[in-house]
Assembly symmetry: C2
Homo-oligomer: 319 residues x 2
Amino acid sequence: MARQMNVPTLVEQARAGAPRAVARLISMVEDAHPQLREVMTALAPHTGRAHIIGITGSPGVGKSTSTSALVTALRKRGQRVGILAVDPSSPFSGGALLGDRIRMNDHVLDPEVYIRSMASRGHLGGLSWTTPQALRVLDAAGCDVVLVETVGVGQSEVEIAGLADTTIVLLAPGMGDGIQAAKAGILEIGDVFVVNKADRDGADNTVRDIRHMISLGDRTEPHLWRPPVLKTVASRGEGVDEVVEALDKHWAWMTEHGVLRKRRLRRAADEIEAIVIKTLRERMGDLRGGHGIEDHAALVVDGTASAYTAADDVVASLT
Amino acid sequence: MARQMNVPTLVEQARAGAPRAVARLISMVEDAHPQLREVMTALAPHTGRAHIIGITGSPGVGKSTSTSALVTALRKRGQRVGILAVDPSSPFSGGALLGDRIRMNDHVLDPEVYIRSMASRGHLGGLSWTTPQALRVLDAAGCDVVLVETVGVGQSEVEIAGLADTTIVLLAPGMGDGIQAAKAGILEIGDVFVVNKADRDGADNTVRDIRHMISLGDRTEPHLWRPPVLKTVASRGEGVDEVVEALDKHWAWMTEHGVLRKRRLRRAADEIEAIVIKTLRERMGDLRGGHGIEDHAALVVDGTASAYTAADDVVASLT
């Protein structure tokens, strides 16, 4: 069913920055295209250059506006930018539902900016499997920075932090109440905190709350990075240069202390595990087609075996 | 670290209906206790009798009140009832955060009612792994009906439907707008729809909307079951007997057409798969300890291998 692609040509075009080739490669990731393995192997030598930056925050903090403002600032420096907007909320959405989240009108015509929406929880698997590969595509396409934007829902914030070199946590005045942030688990994952809409009442209180909570937490990274807490009014571009500066500093700090490599190693290990699990699931799927698991399921339903005993037998048949 | 349990005695006590034994067995599930396999094997012959009913709906539709009213109705018939409240929202919550969701004051002292809260996304794994086993415990403890209640967030509604024989979707007036329901994917999963708070304005519109949307959808079950759309005011117990009646009818229909067995077979197969994946993950975890995956990750980070090639090597070492 899947169309046969000329992978070397596509990869060459993507590396040269052709937007359609980049888009096609990401679609191949989303569709789990049969030639995806070939794509990833061809891309591998050309990855590792981009600074992957995660941007997360609750609905209403101004994520799209902030992302757009960041892109403007990065483009001023002549950098090529990729943007991946990940929707963790629905197993049913295709990319279409995401359309309204991306307000990138200033950038859609810029050939040095790649914008892509992805549903993270499609039938083909979760965030951990597709998103890292889409990031690799943008990385290999010569992006200096790739911004991964997600709305903070449940576990997604923590997951996005696991995909990025640097994670920006966006807040808005009144939402920075320390206990809320602690509950959401965002204090642990933020490398840079940004209180957007800082022209509103309460911005300074929010900054103070977050600073206080950060000072209480114990961060596990060696060579302590103290996350800055900055203020922006993204809609007017105010404070955005300071955010870019903080991102540069964090990059330099990570590089200097070996943290960048450590994070990337952990990420690659997670990605490998996800692919291993996917492979083994597929083998089990083949078993299901062949009635292997169904026969075991019948024993469980009839009470003659526990799910554990059945699982042992399946593992034995896989390995 | 885990305390050694006398499993045969615990199981015997649980089957006799001793609440403390039931509670302890569910704790063993939650903690992935080393003797859990022994527990599940001992329980296996005593499972399969209970009618597992999923109850889901958005925050504010009155899930706890409805669950409580259902329990009252079922108890009037002399049935033993288990209630499992599953919190899908947070990886950080222990059971404690769930306390306020269970407003079961009418039932906590009833020795024929078992109430338990579970966080579904603990560090030990997701809904698919722990919840079915907790259900088995309540089933083996002689519950005639087990209610699994979860708040509708993201994928959790679909997951709960996968765990239950019958799924009740709760709505409230004004929330039944067909497009919302279709977006949330609940039209496909509901066996019985209940519009609660039916004394409020708009209840009849909501009922009509849902009926209309159901008539448009194509349901894949054979021997078409047309989900009833009922009205309740759970806080006053109004309409609850009709819900119980609908549940009985659905049970009879499922039994008559082999749907019950089909659903349970699929569920058991999913459960077996989840345990298989867990087992293989643990083996990979052992690999990680032994630097197996870390070495592969370094190749990926350095661009000398793709994650696929690395995953192939890991699969080969597992199998």
